[in-house]
């Protein structure tokens, strides 16, 4: 540890001459991986708040049968409070909710935020391989988000604003037949930009992780979070171009008279579904894999044990990646695919439960016999393991083609993917946030507030989504603004949960304010001996530049990484 503080001071001297740019220039022209990571995290928090507001509007509407909330919102937004405009706006809201949460909250937080911040630190690299490309990634995402927001205010379906076809953008609704207006083009171009941003980011991570590791940091000594980012980068690189292709076909169908998805010209709308889900299923692993990595770090830190079955964890992630590309048609069981195809996709889908199970059991085995400290990051991590397992089990239910005929497009599916995404992915993000907040900012947060945030969110979000399983089994279809009276009770309960979780978000925002206002200075390693990765050997916050000449990494008997020399 003494060597570390030694080269930090030399680092400070070295860079006294060129201090980081200040003000707007520092962030607008940012090439420093930590600055870009901070930008991504701020962006993700902003998008997360917007996405949550959209979902609270949806839950407020669904609190009781009939139309109450959206006619009012519609009247405010476009001056048209009619029934048709309100129904359209509801569709626009749930579509935007999905896109904002997937592309502008979870992905930027996990890959852009934590990935940028901690991959270079954990492998002993001075920065990302392509710092300028990194800047491009971030600002492309901002442009993409602006296009998404713009789409809500221009015409989509005749006489209506915005695109209401869900995040899946199936034609013919997304073609000129359903959405002749420019809102459809805005959405497509927004996703093109978000895809380009992620592909550029993925290339950066691949180059960084393969080429910039410090001596001694071999591939199979990398922290599991770095492995999870590497696996995710490959998923992004191989899956997003397929989405880009499908979207380009849709765009040319809409504007240049091609007919990839138009039966009149020999195309087939179902082709879009195949292409979309060939991207879409790897995409859901993109949303969760970095979370797996973070949970591994956190469970190990707060159990004060190396993670159980390191090699099994790595192979499980790679297996999930590979299987993720051969399960896509399980989203399409009701489109009339042949029996043999259904059998194939049922089997591959169920097979994913095996590597996922390896991960869950390895986390539990890591905790087993450990000296567990129930600090806020650990609470969120254990919460993650619980809700993700629930979401995974309902996923195995849905994998059955025969059951899926009944459950397809019901609230059971909504409950399933929110248990993995809204609870799983989001819990891992908050676990990571509370784990690394002292490192990133140099300040300690109020742990009581963090625990309050956890319990409000955990209770609230379970109350939201657990009853939706019942609604789904009872046959309530998703994506509908109104419902039969029989579904009233559990919809009411679900909405109450959303408000509780909403209060949790307010607690989180207050916690941020309180931490920055109170300025409790954090030590280099606030978590004690369990935190063994390289970022904890640097001061909090780390210097603007670190590991300028690669340090030699040595692993002590307890598996802790120690950086020697360098700078």
């Amino acid at each position: 540890m003494t060597t570390v503080s030694g080269f930090v001071s030399s680092d400070a001297e070295k860079h006294a001459a060129h201090t980081p740019p200040t003000g707007l220039r520092r962030y607008l022209f940012a090439t420093n991986h930590k600055d870009i990571g901070t930008l991504y995290l701020c962006f993700a928090i902003m998008a997360g708040v917007i996405g949550s507001l959209l979902s609270i509007a949806i839950r407020a509407e669904l609190m009781s049968p009939g139309m109450h909330v959206f006619p009012v919102i519609s009247a405010i937004m476009s001056g048209d409070g009619s029934d048709g405009a309100a129904r359209n706006l509801y569709n626009v809201f749930f579509s935007a909710h999905a896109l904002v949460m997937i592309f502008f909250m979870v992905m930027p937080a996990m890959m852009g935020g934590f990935g940028n911040w901690f991959v270079p630190l954990m492998i002993g690299a001075p920065d990302m391989a392509f710092p300028r490309l990194n800047n491009l990634s971030f600002w492309l995402l901002v442009a993409s988000f602006c296009m998404l927001v713009s789409s809500m205010f221009v015409e989509g379906s005749p006489g209506m604003n915005g695109f209401g076809g869900g995040w899946v953008l199936y034609p013919p609704f997304s073609s000129t037949m359903g959405t002749p207006g420019p809102a459809g083009d805005f959405i497509i171009l927004s996703l093109h930009l978000a895809g380009a941003s992620s592909i550029v980011g993925a290339i950066n991570f691949i180059a960084t992780i393969f080429n910039m590791r410090a001596p001694g940091m071999t591939l199979f000594r990398m922290p599991l979070f770095v492995w999870s980012v590497l696996a995710t980068a490959f998923l992004l690189l191989l899956a997003l171009p397929v989405l880009a292709g499908a979207l380009t076909m849709l765009l040319t169908d809409r504007n240049f008279h091609t007919s990839f998805f138009d039966p009149a010209g020999g195309g087939d709308p179902l082709l879009f579904q195949h292409l979309f889900w060939f991207f879409g299923h790897p995409e859901v692993y993109i949303l969760i894999l970095p979370g797996f990595g973070m949970i591994s770090q956190i469970v190990s830190t707060f159990s004060r044990k190396p993670v159980f079955g390191y090699m099994g964890m790595v192979l499980a992630m790679l297996t999930i990646c590979a299987l993720g590309f051969v399960v896509w048609a399980h989203h399409m069981f009701v489109t009339g695919i042949p029996l043999a195809e259904q059998e194939f996709f049922v089997i591959t889908t169920m097979a994913i439960a095996v590597p996922t199970g390896v991960k869950v059991f390895s986390w539990i085995a890591t905790m087993w016999g450990g000296s567990i400290a129930m600090r806020p990051p650990m609470l969120w991590a254990i919460g993650f393991i619980f809700v993700f397992t629930v979401g995974g089990v309902t996923g195995v239910v849905l994998a059955n083609a025969s059951l899926d005929r009944q459950l397809h497009d019901t609230y059971y599916v909504v409950a399933h993917f929110h248990f993995t995404m809204s609870l799983g992915a989001v819990f891992s993000i908050f676990a990571g946030f509370y784990y690394w907040f002292p490192k990133m900012t140099g300040y300690l947060y109020n742990e009581r507030l963090a625990k309050l945030h956890f319990w409000l969110t955990f209770a609230g979000i379970n109350i939201v989504f657990l009853p939706q399983h019942f609604l789904g089994f009872a046959g309530m279809p998703r994506r509908q603004v109104d419902y039969a009276d029989a579904f009233t009770l559990w919809n009411f309960v679900s909405s109450i949960g959303a408000f509780i979780a909403g209060i949790g978000t307010l607690v989180f925002l207050y916690l941020l304010y309180e931490a920055f206002a109170a300025k409790r200075v954090a030590a280099a390693n606030p978590w004690g001996e369990g935190a063994t990765t390289l970022e904890w050997t640097l001061p909090s916050p780390p210097p603007f530049h670190q590991f300028e000449t690669p340090p030699a990494i040595r692993f002590d008997g307890a598996g802790a990484a120690v950086a020697e020399g360098g700078h």
């Binding site: 180059a207 292709g245 076909m249 009149a264 082709l271 695919i337 042949p338």
Partner: protein
Amino acid sequence: MDALATRRNRTLALASVGAAVGMLGFAYAAATFYSAFCRAFGLYGATQVASKGSESVGGRTLTVLFDANVAPGLDWRLEPETASLKLRTGKTATVYFRAQNLSGQPLAANALFNVTPEISGPWFDKIQCFCFQEQRLGPHESAEWPVVFFLDPKLETDASMAGVEAITLSYTLFAARDDARSTQ
């Protein structure tokens, strides 16, 4: 960063860009081969094309229903001469579809088709069909188009066809692309 590291980063980045471009190409290749793939394997109710009738006659008799539609934007009428018929597997049947151009100008149209349940696609063989090529009708002209087809007796060996008693053959006429644009 030294020159070697920069070069290695460049190489890896270019290889990654290559992989991404390759996947983009894969998406377009998938679009190109998709309909050929569906036709070859009778997926999604794509039917088969035969040059002559079945050599053997099977034991099952199924109901074949006929459905005809005209897509919006094409001022035509299309209807089958009969709503359904009973057909023994292996026997060839001929059904006429009556079409009429209701507009005052010559128009061309293409018929798209499938059979439901979709799993019967591989066993539904057409020998002659108006859907094989573009059809043209003059102003207010009428025509009777034959469809000659049979059910492959081998469907009796397909376990998933065991519960299928009726097959619906459905057509939708779409305006040929060039005509659709000129009348817009």
